[in-house]
């Protein structure tokens, strides 16, 4: 999902809720009302929220698998190649003993699977990102365990600063705030 480009006057409208259940309900209603460009925030993972947003993605597991396969090929290939380029023949032992190659192969499989899982996750999440328009909002604090937010982004087709605010007010939030674009370089 793309975030609005800087330049417009508003980034989005942010509604705060005090219970995860209310936020899930609000997300469902916003989707029913036809909004698509929105994001929900919670201080801890709320599974229903992901479902309510209709977010389904399995890139991370596939990336992990790809990383694992790459690591395995790299580990085994590395050992095979070096033993070919620099053969060490001791005691009539085979030049390519797959058994003794397995350990490094396994370790590199694990290493690259984990690296691609975690860096893939960060990349897909567009992290690290040290500044975000939301950080300008005083009330937006994850440190509080009972604050849950729904933002409707201004690049939504149905977005209209007044009408969307009225809609958000109907969801009975603690407060609704306008999120401006930040002036920092993106």
């Amino acid at each position: 999902m793309r975030e609005p480009r800087p330049g417009g006057d508003l980034f989005g409208l942010l509604a705060e809720f005090d219970r995860p259940e209310r936020l899930v309900e609000a997300v469902k209603r916003a989707r029913k009302a036809g909004f698509t460009a929105m994001e929900a925030y919670s201080p801890y993972p709320v599974e229903e929220l992901t479902e309510a947003l209709g977010f389904e993605e399995n890139i991370v597991p596939w990336l992990t698998l790809a990383g694992g396969i790459f690591g395995a090929a790299l580990g085994y290939g590395l050992q095979l190649y070096t033993n070919y380029a620099y053969p060490i023949e001791i005691g009539g032992r085979p030049l390519y003993p797959w058994q003794s190659f397995m350990l490094i192969t396994f370790e590199l499989t694990v290493l690259f699977a984990v690296l691609s899982a975690i860096f893939g996750m960060l990349l897909l999440n567009r992290l690290p990102r040290l500044h975000h328009p939301l950080f300008d909002i005083e009330a937006f604090q994850l440190g509080q365990s009972d604050k849950f937010f729904l933002i409707i982004l201004s690049n939504d087709e149905r977005f209209h600063s007044k009408r969307t605010r009225t809609f958000l007010d109907m969801l009975d939030p603690v407060r609704v705030e306008a999120v401006e674009h930040t002036e920092q370089p993106e």
Binding site: S42, N83, V114, G120, L130, Q144, S145
Partner: protein, 445 residues
């Protein structure tokens, strides 16, 4: 769930994020920190002496060329394993009570693995050339011997360290964001802000985070098993009596978990007392740790029995001789030290009243930690000092620099751990809250 309980538990969870910003017990912390800096000084001096004079300053000699250095390597690596096991295994099993323990257990893993990794490097003889074990395009156009256990070690420790760091770090990011949001001082906002990578807790972020976290956990479990069985495989690669028993890989892994749980129990008792975390690290957690300790301890005991049985049943003279050396030889103290310290106080854990008593659990943990150290020492020296060739029989005496380095390594472990306790959230707050929401009560979380 009543609103009152919810508020109370949320307040307890919130307290953790406040610790890094407003630390409650400075004096005890400073005393510990001064002590660990002293230990660190011992590391600096011992390592400097080693680098200047060479490995000869240690008591290692032929045939016992693996002295304290390798025993401690295995010991530290073993301690590290429990952190990953607690966090990864229990995460996948959905055991919510892990949340009160996993963060500091993982930190323990991290620092223990660093200590472990330093040992083989320092043991190399010319430690400044340690990067020769790494495959890199060099001007000498030679590459490491991949059939050598030393290069297995390199890959195993490197992978284990990297995976532990990443697993721990992505687990702490949301809590760092929470600390960032609470920070009032500018430098705190900047430091925690940078460390939190701009985490905002968006639902899409959480979904991907969950996938990555769980996958890493799933991969970390076979990694733990592989790393420690690799060590036992490394033993078996040398023709030394007493090192070829097939029970070694599982015996090593379980012994590692055993010593690790002992250290986790000790840390849990101390942290809970020092930081007033009784609400989160409850008696039930201590009880569960006690059960784990007992279970892994009994499995390790099975390893002892199986090892002896293996030697006797195999009937090879040299193996039986090594067994006798362990029981009554020059280093019998280490065998009996291991057996007594590991398994006698352990039996107290059958009683629930003992498991729930912090001091008792701490003492049993301490006893197991020392006992497991004796075991690693025993496994090395009793096998090495009398191998197949009678002409190369010899004794091994630890030198003062080995002990100095060992004390120093404890400093290498303690110093970052104390800094972690001081500056980072020691318990995973957001996971506690998540568990709270799912189970309704912190006590059952």
């Amino acid at each position: 769930m009543s609103e009152k309980i919810r508020k109370r538990d949320a307040a307890a969870a919130e307290r953790i994020t406040r610790i890094p910003l407003k630390y409650p017990a400075p004096r005890a912390w400073w005393i510990c920190f001064a002590f660990s800096l002293l230990l660190l000084l011992s590391f600096a001096v011992s390592a400097a002496v080693l680098l200047i004079s060479g490995v000869g300053v240690w008591g290692n000699n032929i045939p016992v060329n693996w002295g304290l250095a390798i025993a401690n390597y295995i010991w530290f690596l073993g301690i590290g394993h429990a952190g990953t096991l607690i966090s990864a295994m229990l995460l996948l099993l959905g055991a919510h009570w892990r949340n009160s323990l996993n963060r500091f257990a993982e930190a323990m893993t991290l620092f223990a693995v660093i200590c472990a990794g330093l040992y083989p490097i320092l043991h190399l003889g010319r430690p400044w050339f340690f990067y020769w074990i790494a495959p890199y395009p060099n001007t000498m156009t030679i590459s490491p011997q991949f059939k050598s256990p030393l290069s297995w070690d390199f890959f195993a420790v490197l992978t284990y360290l990297t995976v532990s760091i990443l697993f721990w770090y992505i687990g702490i990011i949301p809590d760092l964001a929470a600390v960032r949001d609470r920070a009032k001082r500018r430098w705190q906002q900047v430091i925690y802000g940078l460390a939190a990578l701009g985490w905002r807790g968006s639902a899409r972020h959480w979904a991907r985070w969950n996938q990555a976290y769980r996958l890493t956990a799933a991969i970390a479990i076979p990694l733990v098993v592989s790393v420690h069985s690799e060590i036992s495989l490394l033993f078996a690669a040398g023709p030394i009596p007493g090192w070829t028993s097939t029970v070694f890989p599982p015996y090593f892994v379980l012994g590692a978990a055993f010593s690790g749980f002992a250290v986790v129990a000790m840390i849990a008792v101390v942290l809970r007392h020092a930081l007033g975390l009784g609400m989160l690290v409850t008696d039930r957690h201590l009880d569960l740790l006690g059960r784990f300790l007992l279970a892994t301890g009994l499995m390790t005991a099975y390893g002892y029995v199986a090892e002896a049985f293996d030697s006797l049943y195999g009937g090879e003279l040299q193996d039986v001789g090594t067994l006798m050396d362990r029981l009554v030889g020059a280093y019998a103290f280490s065998y009996w030290g291991a057996v007594i310290l590991n398994f006698l106080p352990l039996q107290l854990l059958w009683f629930e009243s003992v498991r729930r008593q912090p001091l008792m659990l701490f003492l049993i943990g301490l006893s197991v930690t020392i006992g497991m150290w004796f075991e690693r020492y025993m496994l090395l020296t009793t096998s090495l000092y009398r191998d197949y060739l009678v002409s190369s029989w010899g004794q091994y005496h630890t030198s003062v620099w080995e002990w100095g380095l060992y004390a120093g390594m404890l400093g290498v472990f303690l110093t970052p751990f104390l800094l972690f306790v001081r500056f980072l959230p020691v318990i995973s707050t957001f996971e506690v809250e998540e568990a709270l929401r799912e189970t309704g009560d912190l006590r059952h979380a």
